[in-house]
């Protein structure tokens, strides 16, 4: 009987040596005459334990990590002889970090071989699509609406409403565009899903097609994600071969084809209308709204634009029912969210939990505090356009509305932790610099405001007219918030103003100089 080991080929795992570990295991098995079957799975999301090797033994999956290439031999020996190993972590699913999650969207990520349709089906894949095949377009849209599923790309718009709108359009040609631009710092869940369970995303896209009458899907993936691009490309081929994608899907008479488009290093192309321009082969400038993409989208046709995780959550909603999904969460934030623990954090990784979990539970209980061991200072929620929060805010629940009440934002679910060494005036400067660098240039408040903002923070950093310059920044932020065409310029004030409000001492440069 062969020895089955799992070694992730997720980009994060590979970035700390998973390929070298896989190669070393193959060599060590050969030397020992062992019949090794190596599965390259997605990551379980316990990224601080990568490379995490799993053995599929008589008692289920057993975890070892982080494993170094030179430990391959001792690992195989320990497994063969049933003795202990310093890297042994016990049954994978008993590890607290994983055990205390509620994995719906990520149920199969790290569990299955991402490119095996049989594995996918054996673990509940395609059930949502099979259910959808028995339903009317309207009923599918209604189920998505009733589940309470909101867009996971940041804005939190109800997916079912968008789908109904596209369904109601009379045009024959419609599109499903998956936004896989994932440019926000502190986020990597879209990437992990595409690398660890790409069929789930494709299944969600086919369902979206059936629900709206669209026959073509496009996944727009940022060029910084070569691993995800290659995985998705192979997944499309495999699902076509299995008859679940392409023409006359499983004899249903329905067609749905998916193709991939690469981005080219522009953050703004994550904004949906800019993404549509980019898919059309144009500059990624933002389009004015209205018209909304659901009515006038790609090539002027009705278009569903959804984030990777929104689409990848649809299969579980249909497989288990809207009620099942809706039972998770709090308030108007229904279901689960893939939170991403990033930056200066001891146990960084992916935590899928029902909405309502507090920031503190995520950072402390799951994350274990800072990586450096220094005291926590702040966390930025929801990417570069999200607010910084203070220690006092950590008991807030992760819920769209509760955070908005405190001028913070859930966004794409990223949490970037900083220890006490962070300089918040410098982070405010960086927020403007990022906006300056990535602005599409279409409207003045953003294009000029970002430059003026950066220059003004630089004056504060030099201790020049601090009070007056802070007032100037506050005015400028008001102008950017009110006058920008999209959330790039409109939300850059979020990190800036939260830094000034919560950490005024960091901006008090003149007195800092005087105190020296």
């Amino acid at each position: 009987m062969s020895l089955v080991l799992f070694v992730p080929d997720d980009a994060a795992a590979v970035s700390v040596g998973a390929d070298r570990v896989a190669a070393a295991l193959a060599v060590a098995a050969e030397e020992r005459g062992l019949d090794l079957r190596l599965v390259r799975n997605g990551s379980r999301g316990m990224l601080w334990l990568e490379p995490l090797v799993e053995w599929d033994g008589p008692d289920g999956r057993m975890a070892f990590g982080p494993v170094a290439p030179d430990e391959a031999g001792s690992l195989l020996d320990a497994i063969s002889s049933g003795t202990g190993h310093p890297r042994a972590l016990g049954p994978t699913e008993e590890i607290d970090y994983l055990k205390n999650q509620e994995r719906l969207t990520f149920a199969r990520v790290g569990v299955i071989d991402p490119l095996s349709v049989r594995d996918f089906e054996a673990h509940g894949g395609l059930e949502g699509l099979k259910t959808a095949l028995t339903m009317t377009e309207e009923a599918i849209c209604e189920a998505v609406l009733q589940s309470g599923l909101r867009g996971r790309g940041g804005a939190g718009f109800p997916a079912g409403i968008k789908w109904h709108t596209v369904r109601e359009q009379a045009q024959a040609e419609k599109y499903i565009c998956c936004n896989a631009d994932e440019g926000d710092s502190g986020t990597f869940a879209d990437r992990m899903l595409m690398e660890g369970d790409p069929f789930t995303l494709l299944e969600g896209m086919v369902i979206a097609g059936f629900a709206t009458g669209a026959r073509q899907g496009i996944v727009y993936i940022r060029s910084e994600y070569p691993h995800a691009i290659s995985k998705m490309t192979r997944a499309i081929e495999a699902l076509e071969e299995a008859g679940w994608l392409g023409g006359n899907i499983r004899g249903s008479g329905k067609d749905f084809r998916v193709s991939i488009r690469r981005g080219a290093g522009a953050y703004i192309c994550g904004e949906e209308s800019s993404m549509l321009n980019s898919i059309e082969g144009r500059r990624g400038t933002v389009r004015s709204k209205p018209p909304i993409p659901a009515i006038h989208g790609l090539f002027g046709k009705p278009t569903v634009v959804n984030n990777v995780l929104t689409l990848a959550t649809v299969p579980v909603v249909l497989a288990k029912g809207a009620e099942f999904y809706k039972d998770f969460g709090m308030g108007r934030s229904r279901g689960t969210q893939a939170f991403q623990l990033a930056g200066n954090i001891r146990r960084g990784g992916l935590v899928e939990k029902a909405f309502g979990v507090t920031i503190r539970e995520l950072i402390e209980t799951f994350g274990g505090g800072t990586a450096t061991g220094r005291p926590f200072r702040t966390a930025q929620l929801g990417g570069p356009l999200g607010a910084y929060v203070s220690e006092e805010m950590l008991d807030l629940p992760m819920d769209y509305e509760a955070l908005a009440e405190h001028k913070a934002m859930l966004g794409h679910g990223g949490i970037t932790v900083f220890d006490e060494t962070v300089d918040m005036a410098e982070m405010a400067r960086f927020a403007f610099e990022f906006c300056e660098e990535e602005s599409c240039g279409k409207c003045t408040p953003c294009r000029i405001g970002a430059v003026r903002g950066r220059e003004t923070v630089e004056k504060i950093l030099r201790g020049e007219n601090v009070a007056r310059n802070i007032a100037l920044i506050e005015d400028l932020c008001e102008l950017m918030t009110d006058g920008s065409l999209c959330a790039m310029g409109g939300l850059t004030p979020m990190p800036v103003l939260s830094a000034i409000l919560l950490f005024p001492e960091d901006f008090d440069r003149a007195s800092a100089l005087a105190a020296e």
Binding site: S15, S185, R282
Partner: protein, 157 residues
């Protein structure tokens, strides 16, 4: 051989456009492919792309200049993209960048004597294992000087 075929990137540009059915909406994909084949987007290829795709030169040039990925000059043999975004900053990305630049004796986007260039990038999706860098296609997590050196050596082989 006609005169136009001697223009840098001309043959490649025409061939790549043809494989994409001369479809103007495929311009980004075409530029990516051209840059892989030629190493950059030669200015001389812009009118050729425009001709194949039935676009104006200004439209093609506008796209080339909009996106950070496309360069109009030959790049370095080895490119290190080093993340400057928030999660990596929280783990010392700025200091790491400075150390690397001073050791290789270059500023950002300059090509070192050994043919290495460092480019800033905003997030590589490896924010839990910050700081992150990418040497050609290879992603590095928990990047430090030694890991980047090793990846550069590997890429140079």
């Amino acid at each position: 051989m006609s005169v136009s075929e001697e223009i840098p990137g001309a043959r490649e540009a025409r061939a790549i456009c043809a494989t994409r059915s001369n479809d103007p909406s495929m311009l980004l994909e075409i530029l990516h492919d051209l840059q892989v084949r030629v190493g950059h987007i030669p200015g001389e290829s812009v009118p050729i792309l425009a001709d194949c795709l039935n676009l104006s030169k200004a439209e093609v040039y506008g796209v080339v200049s909009f996106y950070h990925d496309f360069r109009t000059e030959p790049g370095a043999p080895i490119t290190v993209r080093i993340c400057q975004a928030e999660a990596c900053r929280s783990m010392g990305a700025e200091a790491l960048t400075e150390r690397l630049l001073s050791r290789y004796g270059v500023s950002l986007s300059e090509i070192s004597a050994a043919g290495v260039t460092f480019e800033p990038v905003y997030c590589l999706g490896n924010c839990a294992l910050a700081p992150a860098a990418m040497v050609d296609g290879a992603l590095i997590g928990r990047a430090d000087g030694a890991a980047v050196d090793a990846a550069i050596a590997e890429a140079g082989r």
